[in-house]
């Protein structure tokens, strides 16, 4: 089975994101980037399938931010091919437009299965995964929390997450694109020494991005701002025992304490 995985870098929210002068976009120059969590799960799922039964895994990523570190880590985890798409501009296009770039790199791989994280927190115009599927002309299902080989040849069995800790098991005929929210197991830890070893042996294939495809009819952001905290909790202060007593009082007032 040939598997392709898209791995994205997104701004790290550990520091508050700054809005630039125009007030309509992020000031990404000062942001640090980390790998998108659900893409990490997608990669893990691909590696698990490889370990279960001889698949090959190709990883595709846009070349910006700390992507090299992420890609060496992917190589250390067992990715067979790593394709970096170099961008014409410094910053990547919005998610929906990026889907076209990924599609272009993935098409020649003719994969049986494409795994992408189902969401990234910087997507406001739709997740990359379904648009990638549309661009590749492949069937798509998302919010997938586990992939296993299917009963028949050329199929896989997946779990789709629903609220209430409920899951739907679906059978998927390959080729297909899946939007991953979780893998069968949490992403494995790769020791730094192995990533560094991969830095010496792994080779990336670099590709030029397509000349900007016609911009999809997205909307445009007219204003970007942090939410004003409308309501806020009444904060209780004092010593532990004072606060505890106050809370017990509140509970009693509401008739909640028997």
């Amino acid at each position: 089975m040939k598997i392709a995985v898209v791995v994205r870098q997104i701004p790290d929210l550990i520091e508050p994101l700054e809005v630039d002068g125009s007030g309509t976009a992020f000031d990404l120059g000062s942001a640090s980037f980390i790998v998108n969590e659900s893409d990490d799960h997608a990669l893990e799922q691909a590696i698990l399938l490889k370990e279960a039964g001889g698949a090959t895994v190709s990883v595709v990523a846009l070349d910006f931010g700390d992507v090299d570190n992420t890609l060496y880590t992917a190589a250390a985890k067992g990715a067979d091919r790593i394709i970096k798409i170099s961008l014409a501009e410094e910053m990547p296009p919005p998610p929906r437009a990026a889907a076209a770039l990924y599609a272009e790199a993935i098409k020649p791989l003719a994969p049986d299965l494409v795994l992408v994280g189902v969401q990234a927190h910087d997507e406001w115009d739709g997740g990359v995964s379904p648009f990638l599927a549309a661009a590749l002309g492949l069937p798509y299902v998302g919010v997938i929390c586990g992939v296993k080989a299917g009963a028949e040849q050329g199929t896989i069995s997946v779990c789709k997450e629903f609220p209430g800790a409920v899951m739907a098991r679906l059978n998927v005929k390959l080729p297909a694109v899946l939007g991953i929210v979780g893998a069968e197991q949490p992403p494995r830890y790769v020791p730094v020494a192995r990533v560094r070893a991969a830095m010496k042996t792994a080779r990336f294939e670099e590709q030029e991005a397509a000349t900007a495809a016609s911009a999809p009819p997205a909307g445009s952001i007219s204003r970007l701002y942090p939410p004003a905290s409308g309501s806020h909790a009444e904060m209780l202060a004092g010593s532990e025992s004072e606060i505890a007593a106050r809370i017990a009082e509140i509970l009693a007032q509401k008739g909640l304490v028997k």
Binding site: V143, C159, F162, A168, I221, P226, A233, V257
Partner: protein, 322 residues
């Protein structure tokens, strides 16, 4: 359907109409009354007409009945949805930001070349187009997005609107699925339900919720004691469930349970939107967190900046004394 109508895609899961559908209808009503159009709801399922009474807030209830739609399968659902939208050309298509919605809305947008906005919290007409207030970056950012073209597809966050109460015209229409629509390559096999025999947190009056701030599995005991003293149950946010410290049936949030207890005590929970979605309607919300800027304090009624490991025992004591 005219170019002023607003189409809502009803969400049906395991034979039940999801709450979010009624919220979408409310949003649609707000939009349609401004544009002078109708609120149309599309029901894709087998024997969909039985949901009609619940959808009385819509003006037109379009039921597409077909065995192929009995269980969720993206391709026939997509095909049916696309057919309707292409034929009717509404101004906007509203879909819930749910498991099914996340499949259908983007695929529809791709097929139609239509604009798509996710994470919607509020939607208004804006000239010939729409203005959507969208939330992203884990709820830490809001964007005002202008969408010009029609139809525009908007995914609304569950809980962004209150469920519709006003009745609409409620006219029922039945449609057939086009013969050309075939079974998809993604097929429903079965539902996998969480192991039963555990506490049903959606039925509890008092919930003591734990998050990362609990630090160690052993500290769950403290929460258990507090819950017992209050006559409630322990539940948790996703990180705690992911660690395996509590069964999945105790998870509160987007992929867990939605709870509406009389009292919800959030201990060491930051308040990420996926979690808040599951508990924001509780009558009384108390939050304890070491980070004064934690988003949970925007949802809570009362807040304490403290270490939960210190406060829980003190609180249990205080309640016992009363």
């Amino acid at each position: 359907m005219s170019a002023q109508d607003v189409l809502v895609v009803a969400e049906i899961q395991r034979e039940t109409l999801s709450d979010v559908t009624l919220e979408l209808l409310a949003a649609a009503r707000g939009l349609a009354s401004a544009t002078g159009g109708q609120v149309v709801v599309l029901v894709l399922t087998a024997d969909g007409a039985r949901h009609a009474p619940a959808l009385a807030a819509a003006d037109r209830i379009v039921v597409v009945d077909d065995a192929l739609l009995a269980a969720y399968s993206p391709e026939p659902f997509m095909a049916a949805l696309q057919e309707i939208v292409v034929a009717e050309q509404p101004r906007a298509v509203l879909v819930g930001a749910t498991s099914i919605g996340w499949d259908l809305a983007p695929l529809l947008a791709a097929r139609l070349g239509a604009p798509l906005v996710t994470g919607g919290k509020a939607i208004q007409p804006d000239g010939d187009g729409l203005r959507v207030t969208a939330s992203f970056c884990g709820g830490k950012m809001l964007a005002e997005i202008q969408v010009a073209a029609s139809p525009a597809i908007v995914m609304l966050l569950p809980g962004a609107y209150r469920p519709a109460t006003e009745a609409g015209k409620g006219e029922l229409e039945r449609r057939q699925l086009a013969a050309s629509i075939a079974e998809g390559t993604v097929r429903f096999d079965q539902w996998v339900l969480p192991a039963g025999g555990d506490v049903d947190i959606t039925q509890q009056e008092i919930l003591v919720a734990v998050g990362r701030g609990i630090q160690q599995k052993d500290n769950l005991e403290l929460a258990e004691e507090l819950a017992q003293t209050l006559g409630g149950a322990v539940c948790a946010s996703r990180p705690v469930i992911d660690q395996g410290w509590l069964p999945a049936t105790r998870q509160v949030g987007k992929s867990g349970m939605t709870v509406k207890p009389r009292c919800f005590i959030a201990l060491g929970i930051s308040g990420a939107p996926e979690h808040v979605e599951g508990m924001k309607d509780a009558d009384l919300i108390l939050a304890v967190n070491t980070d004064a800027k934690a988003p949970i304090f925007d949802v809570a009624h009362y807040g304490v900046v403290a270490d939960v490991l210190d406060l829980i025992p003190a609180l249990t004591e205080a309640v016992k004394r009363n």
